[in-house]
Symmetry: C2
C-alpha cells in the first residue's frame, strides 16, 4: 500500500495550503528536525542543511511566513526572500566551488514556499534532471555540525 | 560518441559564463528560436513558451542581461526579475489551474539566468523529480500561437 503524498490526499493538501496543517510551519524553525538542521535565521527565512547530503552542499531556505506560491507574497517579501536566497547561494558557492548552482522552489510534498540551493559539481552530469534524493547519504553528527558552522560563518561574512 | 554538454566542455563553459558565447544572449529575444516562442517582453526578462509541452503550460523567463548566478545581480535586478517570475506564474496558474507550480533556475546546459515555471497537475506524481523533457510533446503551429496569445493576454491582465 502506498501512502498518498502531496496533492494526492486532496483534503490534507488543502489544509497544508491554507497553513492549518503545514509541516514546515511547525518544524522549519527548530534547531533539529527529522529532515534537516538549522543553519541561520535571517529576516525572511530559515536556512537549513538537509540530512541527505548525496548532493553535497544542498541547502534549503524556508520562508518564515506561510505562503504556497510566489505570487502570494508582497513585492517586499518576494524581494527580501530572494535576496536571502542569493546571499546564501554566494556563501554555498564560496564553500563548495560548484560548476553551477541550481535553485528550486517546488513544494510538491509541502506547499510552503522554500528554495533548494543545490550544488552541481564538474563531475556531475549536466543533462540529468535534478534529484537531490536520488540516493541517501547520511553523515555523522560531527560532520553535520562542522558543515552547519562553516555555512553559518560564510553567510555571516557574505551578509 | 556523445557531445560534451554544459561544464563538460570547460573551455566553452567559460565562454558561456562570461557571456562571450552565450546562446541565450543570442536568441532569447527572438520571436521564434529552435527551443521556444516569445510570449512577452517585460522590463527584466523575456517570457517564452517552450516547444516541448509534455508538461503543458511550461513557461520560461530569460533574464535580459547576462548573468550566471543570482548573486551576480544587484538587489534591484534580482527583485525585478522575481517580481516578473511571480507575475507570469500568476498568469500561468490562472490558465492551467495547477495543483502546484514549480520554479526552477538551473542553467546546467546554458549558464544564463532563466527561470522555468512548470505546471504540476493533480494527476501528476508529486514524488517524481522534475523533468520537463521526460518526453517530447510537440504541438502544431496554430496551437502554439493560441497558447502564446492566451498567456500574453493573461500576463497583460495580471500586470
Amino acid at each position: 500500500m502506498t501512502v498518498a503524498q502531496g496533492w494526492q490526499d486532496s483534503a490534507r493538501w488543502e489544509r497544508m495550503k491554507d497553513g492549518s496543517d503545514c509541516p514546515m510551519c511547525l518544524d522549519g524553525h527548530l534547531p533539529v528536525n527529522p529532515f534537516s538542521f538549522l543553519v541561520a535565521e535571517l529576516t525572511h527565512s530559515f536556512v537549513r542543511l538537509p540530512r541527505n547530503q548525496f548532493m553535497r552542499g544542498w541547502t534549503l531556505l524556508i520562508l518564515k511566513q506561510h505562503a504556497c506560491e510566489l505570487y502570494e507574497l508582497t513585492p517586499a517579501e518576494l524581494a527580501g526572500f530572494f535576496a536571502e536566497v542569493a546571499l546564501v547561494a554566494r556563501a554555498v558557492a564560496g564553500i563548495y566551488r560548484p560548476a553551477k548552482l541550481n535553485y528550486g522552489v517546488f513544494g510538491n510534498l509541502c506547499p510552503h514556499v522554500h528554495c533548494h540551493i543545490v550544488v552541481q559539481q564538474a563531475e556531475d552530469d549536466p543533462t540529468k534532471p535534478l534529484n537531490m534524493n536520488e540516493r541517501e547519504m547520511l553523515l555523522d553528527d560531527a560532520e553535520y555540525d562542522r558543515m552547519v558552522r562553516e555555512l553559518a560563518h560564510a553567510i555571516h561574512v557574505a551578509a
